[in-house]
């Protein structure tokens, strides 16, 4: 394929207040979206290649996306797993793959010195474009995945996460655990993996993010080298819309732990939802900002009921979840859940106070630079911007968007997306305690 690049969407947006280098974007000839930030202070180049090829694409084979991703560096272009690992190590490069629900990503970090970087990119290119999926590696990685599934079984925190997604998303692809299920993982075949890779690891389904000590011309060559040899293919199809639960639901999974772990919430918004900022800022005040959040104040600071209590907003390609989480000694589960639920109810009903909202906005905007103070953080930000199709001026306008949030807009957004009558409550442990009954039925 010709190494010719054309700037479909070339644009340069400056970031506010301080001189963060601008974000540049273009497309490779085979349709991969590239985002690039040049930072010259350190002799490092970081690359992330993200495909819409994670567990949301597993279909009827939970674990297929994870297995495919894990196998990439287990043999490529005739090189064995040992040879690949040794070659990266010999040049001091770091390479990793990961696959969750939306994103299957490949990460490469190398020194920017030309011969070293070229060698690192050459090897990563082989892995990305010519994986061999050796039969023995498939069997080994499959067995490792089965062991990892047992690890989940002994961890209450992993169990509550898995059960929460499974029950919340029902028939939607987000219900499928990224780590797979034992039955499905046992049945996966090399053909499944090859077919999955062929469908999803294609140019038009890829995002390449590059940050570091190189110029635009070199970044263009790097992106073309990495993914240019992949067929253009098709972007992954749109995912089904998420159906919300018809009614509140409460489930306990018994586990012989001394604490009960809680997840309480529902499917909320996609990453591009116009209500993102009011929900984000509101969640920051409610439970997204550590010890100073409303939930931490009520559950931990006032009552000493939990070490870690929080709320999380995880917008995804489609409606990702909003949830409250905590762990507490089994016999005080009722009290802890009751206090957390009451805090959530009050927040959804009344919204934040002016003071709470102001504190959240000051924390978010005053600490804006902390989101971009390393190459690794910049890489994560621009990869997400490209993957979710956020505007290229997302970072430039971020603080303005936060400042535009009002008590009213938070209230409206929470009431629109968080239905207190349809909360899913999952516990793992041996919960008991006064007040638990109150939470077990819809109010």
């Amino acid at each position: 394929m010709l190494a010719r690049l054309f700037a479909v969407l070339l644009s340069v947006i400056a970031l506010p207040a301080w001189a963060v280098p601008p974000v540049t974007t273009w497309q490779t000839a085979n349709g991969a979206r590239v985002v690039f930030v040049e930072t010259r202070e350190l002799p490092i180049v970081d690359v992330s290649v993200v495909f819409d090829a994670a567990s949301a694409r597993d279909g009827s084979r939970p674990g297929l996306a994870r297995l495919t991703s894990a196998l990439l560096a287990e043999g490529a272009a005739g090189l064995s797993a040992d040879a690949i690992a040794e070659r990266f190590a010999a040049i001091g490069a770091q390479f990793a793959t990961d696959s969750l629900r939306d994103m299957a990503s490949i990460g490469l970090r190398s020194l920017s010195e030309s011969a070293t970087l070229d060698a690192a990119v050459d090897l990563a290119t082989k892995i990305l474009t010519r994986p061999d999926f050796p039969a023995d590696a498939i069997e080994r990685v499959r067995r490792q995945m089965l062991v990892a599934l047992q690890q989940v079984e002994q961890s209450p925190d992993d169990l509550v996460e898995r059960e929460f997604y499974r029950l919340l998303y029902g028939d939607h692809p987000y219900a499928s655990p990224p780590e797979g299920t034992a039955a499905a993982v046992a049945a996966l075949t090399r053909e499944d993996v090859r077919e999955f890779w062929g469908r999803y690891y294609v140019g038009r389904n890829a995002v390449v993010a590059i940050v570091g000590d190189l110029d635009r011309a070199k970044a263009e060559r790097l992106a073309t080298s990495l993914v240019g040899a992949l067929p253009a293919g098709e972007p992954a199809s749109p995912l089904l819309a998420v159906q919300s639960l018809g009614a509140a639901r409460r489930v306990n999974l018994e586990h012989p732990s001394t604490q009960t772990h809680l997840r309480l919430g529902e499917a909320a918004i996609s990453r591009t939802d116009p209500d993102y900022f009011p929900l984000y800022v509101g969640n920051h005040a409610l439970g997204g900002s550590g010890l100073v959040s409303a939930l931490a104040e009520e559950v931990r600071e006032k009552r000493g009921l939990s070490y870690s209590v929080y709320s999380t907003l995880s917008p995804m390609r489609m409606e990702g979840p909003f949830y409250v989480g905590l762990q507490t000694r089994n016999d005080q589960t009722g009290e802890a859940v009751g206090v957390a639920l009451e805090t959530l109810r009050r927040f959804v009903r009344d919204g934040p106070t002016e003071q709470e909202l102001d504190a959240a906005k000051r924390n978010i905007t005053g600490g804006f630079a902390l989101r971009l103070d390393s190459n690794k953080k910049i890489l994560g930000q621009i990869a997400a911007i490209a993957f979710y199709g956020l505007p290229l001026d997302y970072l430039a306008t971020f603080s303005d968007q936060v400042n535009a949030v009002t008590v009213e807009s938070v209230g409206v957004a929470f009431r629109r997306h968080i239905d207190l009558d349809r909360l899913l409550t999952v516990t793992v442990g041996q919960p008991s305690g006064d007040g638990l009954a109150r939470t077990s039925a819809s109010p």
Partner: protein, 470 residues
Amino acid sequence: MTTPHVTTQPSAAKAAVALLALALATAAFAAPEVHEFTLGNGLKVLVKPDRRAPVVVSQVWYKVGSSYETEGLTGISHMLEHMMFKGTESLGPGKFSRIVAAEGGRENAFTGQDYTAYFQSLASDRLEVSLRLEADRMANLLLRDEDFIKEREVVTEERRLRTEDQPESLTYETFQAMAYQTSPYRHPVIGWMSDIEHYSLDDLKGWYRRWYAPNNATLVVVGDVDPPAVRALAERYFGPLKPAAVQSPKPRPEVEQVGLRRVVVEAPAKLPYLLFGYKAPTAATRPEPWEPYALDVLAAILGGDESSRLQSRLVRGEEVAADVGVSYDPYDRMTTLFTISAVPAQGRSMDDLEAGVVEEVRRLREEPVLAAELDKVKTQVVAADVYQLDSVFAQAMRLGRLETVGLGWRTADEYVPRVRAVTPEQVQAVARKYLREEALTMARLKPLPLSSPVARASAPAAIEGGRHAR
């Protein structure tokens, strides 16, 4: 600081060329220097400018941690760390965190065996907020009974979360208590549950008075700052604090181990887990100066990354392990453990796994490592030394840690040259000297069924049962 990346046997020539290229590539790049000064009251201040972004990280490190504690008061350093957020004579409980948050900051604290440290990350023009608040709580902490009672409950919840309900952590805790006989490294950083439950407010007041003083602390500031301006702020806020008579902790060295120790932990779990721990010196225990670095290289060759021996031979190759890890910290304050951990592969026995690890240790003792393996570790170390500069937080951690264990921050600059000077003979020598069965402690986690809950003091019957969700 185990070097995370290593490999096995490529061509020695190729690795040597790569190492040379990296050395040349990074030689032209000069890392910013550290500015050091000490206030009249003994507070050590380290400032390292990093102007890539308008941010600053500020950390206050105290020379106290779980290895300073005695039986009955284990975990008190960590408990005090929690109480440091409960207000001072001029600041109400929780106000510290609210002020930092309103200034756009992120903050927290951490306690280890050898240190207790507090940090804020902020926009660089807000550094003053951090220094004002940290100076205040260094001297004026208010320890109130009502806050203490609640926070002690929080710490018990933290212990349940981190240890009680995690079979591998529980195994590691018992392993540590078995491996060390006289060293305070034998007890967990968070403390034994019974000790936590019986702390008194006076215990905390005593611990605070004993260790929290400017002459027992180091302030580390890394970010977009000018050293003279930091100095002026430090003088202004910390300068007025009075030094205290801080007595050094008693030595409490570990007695020499005189034979293999084995322990089994039975806990509800799905997977077995194997731990090997060999007694090993650190840079702080004054062995031959090259020994800790040879052990660090050894750890990397054995288990540093995907290309290490345990990965290529036990995880791939023999397929006896599903997962392996090797850890060794050359900068612990006292004699430490060179640790190997492993989970058996599906269908493989713990005996097979143990035999596989023993065989790899035997090889290290009996055969010199290949020059190519060594060169790759050195290449990785040169590269990792550059990579860590991407994080202002990591840079501050490195300086604070070394200063606090008594080695001095300049030890950070010695790391790469010391590792690059290690020879195959030295790697074999430390393997023979320290990876000895007489100095080994082995622990196994034996899983009990998860489906039949074991009786525990705080485990009443479930209100809704079933292994499967409904």
